[in-house]
Symmetry: C2
Subunit: 202 residues, 2 copies
């Protein structure tokens, strides 16, 4: 059996990505796998697929709000609605993540979860560098260092490169997982992912 990490692509502004972030580590642990978190800016993929943000669509948007609350409760994930503004651009939280993950991958995951909870449990505007810095402080990080990282050209390039790599890999949604080359889109594929991890595929 493979022991390769699970690739976990998500956008910090994606509510289904938040739900996935709350549960993916437990799924991986049950099957002795690691998870590589790969935040991206999904808008770049939406341009290719000509997709519109789900929550803004007629009928589907209303359904999705109901489905998000129901799905979060079903999966035991806290949820208290969308932040405002929504949708938002996830540049700042994504840069903070990539800055930190090279220094301390576990801390970067903790920061990512804290940022996602700030957005979808506390309705904070995590597109704001100030909120990203405040959240980083609550995780014991140096706010000034985070603030500098958000403006660091190398970190900006790093995020752009990560988004390009994801586009090249065909990622078009959030959350999106790759297990041993097999793509899974959406939190609703978690049961299939569990079986795939258990059996090696079918």
């Amino acid at each position: 059996m493979s022991t390769a990490p699970i690739d976990f692509y998500f956008d910090f502004s994606s509510p289904y990505g938040f739900i996935a972030a709350e549960v993916i580590e437990a799924v991986a642990e049950r099957h002795q796998r690691q998870v590589t978190w790969r935040p991206i800016l999904i808008g770049a993929a939406f341009k290719i697929t000509n997709a519109q943000p789900l929550l803004g669509q007629p009928l589907k948007g209303d359904y999705a709000l109901r489905d998000l609350a129901r799905s979060a409760a079903y999966m035991g994930v806290p949820w208290s609605g969308l932040p405002s503004p929504f949708p938002f651009l996830a540049t700042a939280p994504s840069r903070a993540f990539y800055w930190l993950t090279d220094r301390d991958p576990a801390a970067a995951k903790r920061l990512a979860r804290a940022l996602l909870r700030a957005a979808f449990v506390e309705q904070q505007d995590i597109s704001s560098p100030a909120i990203v810095k405040t959240t980083a402080m609550t995780e014991g990080l140096d706010a000034d260092a985070v603030g500098s990282a958000l403006q660091d050209p190398a970190i900006k390039d790093r995020l752009r490169a990560e988004v390009d790599t994801a586009l090249d890999a065909g990622i078009f949604g959030s959350p999106y997982f790759i297990i041993d080359g097999e793509p899974f889109w959406g939190t609703d594929r978690l049961p299939q992912m569990e079986k795939w991890l258990e059996t090696g595929g079918w």
Copy 2:
């Protein structure tokens, strides 16, 4: 606990609708529920939501083909790919269904499943009245009576009315289920539906 039937909306040209049709009766039976099958022409809803057929979309289309084969196998449903042409207009099979369901609802469900299998297991063109008639014959129905029904103005009106009713109810995808007023979109919501049926909701 409610004993109201589960509303099952689907388009005969929807491959995920086919998968749902193969499993929904067993789900309902486990919870002592009936299922009301409601074939519709989902293109009318797509105009409202400005949606494009999934299989024709860049990146998503390729993913969906892979996901359909994987999901069918995961759920124990036969699957051998899309028919040609695809997508197709499901007017003929939908009319045949509504003609029959007023006479014999159980036979209408059997016909619907036979038509869906003709499309997605045998790759037959069920948009063709001739194929609908042939499939009806294999189900022991009178091909001439089916042929007449496909051209019957009352049946044409009936299908239009069913589509309008579905649009009024906010149905925007296939498959789409309503259980005691709660909407569930997609075969991937079946686990939540099972829990909803078991617990009465959360």
